[in-house]
């Protein structure tokens, strides 16, 4: 226990040092008089701008408002993608007929990148929120589905046998064994999906939006405001990190049993 804490401390220290060096490098590369310095703001300017945006509006909202809108879009798209992905994955993994029906379609749609759907998203769902939800949905859905499908497929038949022996009826096998043993796969899927959904928010907000972190970046680009772009990028990175850390926390609470070995 003590040893692990110490190792964690060392690791955090190394991480912090690496980030600091990166910031120093950035500051050095963009110092007064360099070409890069003319094209791009340094860390201090970006940080100052970030602080400013927390109380002055960028476009219609402060950065909090933009974050809120982006998060809302991601959570809506991600939630729908997760529900559909879990259902489809379990169905394909457990039922041969459903697998035969959905697997080929799914395998064809899976390699299409979210960006490729933008025009169709606009045609189907219009320029409002619907299209954005759809882009985010697409970027999360197949990650969840494929993982859950793998999980439901790889249920140990011996566990199913053992449950039957102990008097578990066919109907109860699915919730008590198949779903239970797929839980770690479900979480792996959700974790990948939350990251890719969040990453897709920039693409989604390129579809005529008036707010959101993605919008901040596109808007910054059209007026040549490099600081705004950098703030947007950094906020995307930090929130993405926080989201996946949060998911991992939930996972380690709910799947303590599958993590015990590699902790």
């Amino acid at each position: 226990m003590k040893k692990r804490k110490k190792i964690n401390g060392v690791r955090v220290g190394i991480g912090a040092a690496a980030i600091c060096s990166f910031l120093c490098l950035w500051a050095f590369a963009t110092r007064e008089g360099t070409t890069l310095g003319i094209l791009m703001p340094g860390p201090v300017e970006v940080f100052t701008h970030l602080v400013e945006t927390t109380y002055t509006k960028v476009g219609p909202l402060t950065i909090w408002g933009h974050m809120f809108n982006s998060l809302r879009r991601v959570l809506v798209g991600f939630t729908i993608a997760s529900c559909c992905g879990i259902l489809l994955g379990l169905a394909m993994g457990w039922n041969r007929t459903l697998e035969a029906i959905f697997r080929p379609i799914f395998e064809l749609l899976r390699p299409i990148p979210p960006l490729a759907w933008i025009s169709l998203a606009i045609v189907w769902f219009g320029l409002g929120e619907g299209g954005k939800y759809f882009i985010i949905f697409v970027s999360g859905f197949s990650n969840v589905t494929i993982n859950v499908y793998t999980g439901a497929k790889s249920v140990d038949p011996e566990l199913i046998g053992a449950a039957k022996m102990l008097g578990c009826s066919e109907r109860r096998i699915f919730p008590s064994i198949v779903i239970r043993s797929s839980v770690p796969y479900i979480f792996t899927g959700l974790q990948i999906a939350i990251s890719s959904s969040w990453a897709a928010v920039v693409a989604a907000e390129m579809v005529r939006s008036t707010n959101g972190i993605g919008w901040m970046i596109t808007a910054g680009q059209s007026v040549g405001n490099m600081e705004q772009i950098m703030v947007g990028i950094i906020v995307i990175g930090v929130i993405g990190f926080l989201l996946s850390t949060f998911m991992r926390g939930v996972e380690s609470k709910l799947c303590a049993w599958s993590r015990v070995q590699d902790s």
């Binding site: 102990l166 008097g167 578990c168 109860r172 303590a256 599958s258």
Partner: protein, 249 residues
């Protein structure tokens, strides 16, 4: 536990094919109430297939298997099966694993607690009851599987080379534990093994199977009293007798 002469399990002309592959060929035998039967046979002869047929995991091609004179019905007959590989549910703690069958049978909470405590204690896992299977060693998992199987107080206990992967010392210990459990619960045990010494050590009767298509080659009764001494002359003689039968594979 009932009448010693009454047959607990009756296997009548059991035949099992996988497609064209004939595995079990018209096998018949009986197992008495509270008997400890060992089955030995060459690798791939269909020992696991037999237990899977008995426990209804496989459909049989022809013949029938009766428990108490009736066709096997998992809802009615209380059968426990310890697989060749340990099959603890990894998402449940050791205690919850042992409780699993009792909860399904909707036993009163107080009785569940009492039984689970008793059997966890018996296999020496009381201290580890809140651990998850991934945190325990192979022998502990096997003991957990044994506790789970015994907790339902099965009429028939099926064991498929349960100790195959354990080292000798543990194996001896678990064999003795098994004998103790068998006597205390009064169950009928069908135990499959590759290990002749183990069969002679545990069983009251040994069935020797042939290669595929599998038939019963010999049936040897073993009336030595427990605890058995593996160095005793009669033990060695019986072991040699079974070994000779097996040499003809």
């Amino acid at each position: 536990m009932g009448n010693k002469n009454e047959y607990k399990v009756q296997v009548r002309n059991l035949t099992k094919k996988f497609g064209d592959l004939l595995v079990l060929d018209d096998i018949s035998f009986d197992v008495k109430e509270n008997e400890f039967l060992c089955i030995v046979g060459p690798t791939g002869c269909g020992k696991t297939t037999f237990l899977n047929s008995l426990s209804k995991l496989y459909d049989i091609t022809a013949g029938e298997i009766l428990i108490n004179g009736e066709p096997v019905d998992l809802k009615k007959h209380n059968i426990a099966y310890i697989f060749q590989e340990y099959s603890n549910f990894p998402w449940l703690t050791i205690r919850e694993n042992v409780e699993f069958g009792l909860r399904i049978k909707k036993m009163p909470e107080a009785e569940i607690k009492e039984r689970v405590d008793y059997f966890l204690d018996m296999v020496g896992l009381k201290k580890f009851q809140d651990y998850y299977p991934d945190q325990l060693s192979a022998s502990m998992l096997q003991r957990a599987a044994i506790a789970r199987a015994f907790a339902v107080k099965p009429e028939v206990l099926l064991m498929d080379e349960p100790y195959g992967q354990l080292d000798i010392e543990l194996r001896f210990k678990l064999e003795d534990e098994l004998i103790r459990l068998w006597r205390e619960v009064g169950t009928t045990v069908i135990f499959i093994t590759h290990n002749i010494e183990e069969a002679v050590y545990l069983s009251e009767r040994i069935l020797v199977l042939t290669n595929k298509p599998t038939k019963i080659k010999a049936e040897i009764s073993n009336t030595m009293a427990h605890p058995r001494d593996i160095a005793a002359p009669e033990f060695v003689e019986l072991r040699n007798q079974v070994t000779d039968l097996i040499k003809w594979w």
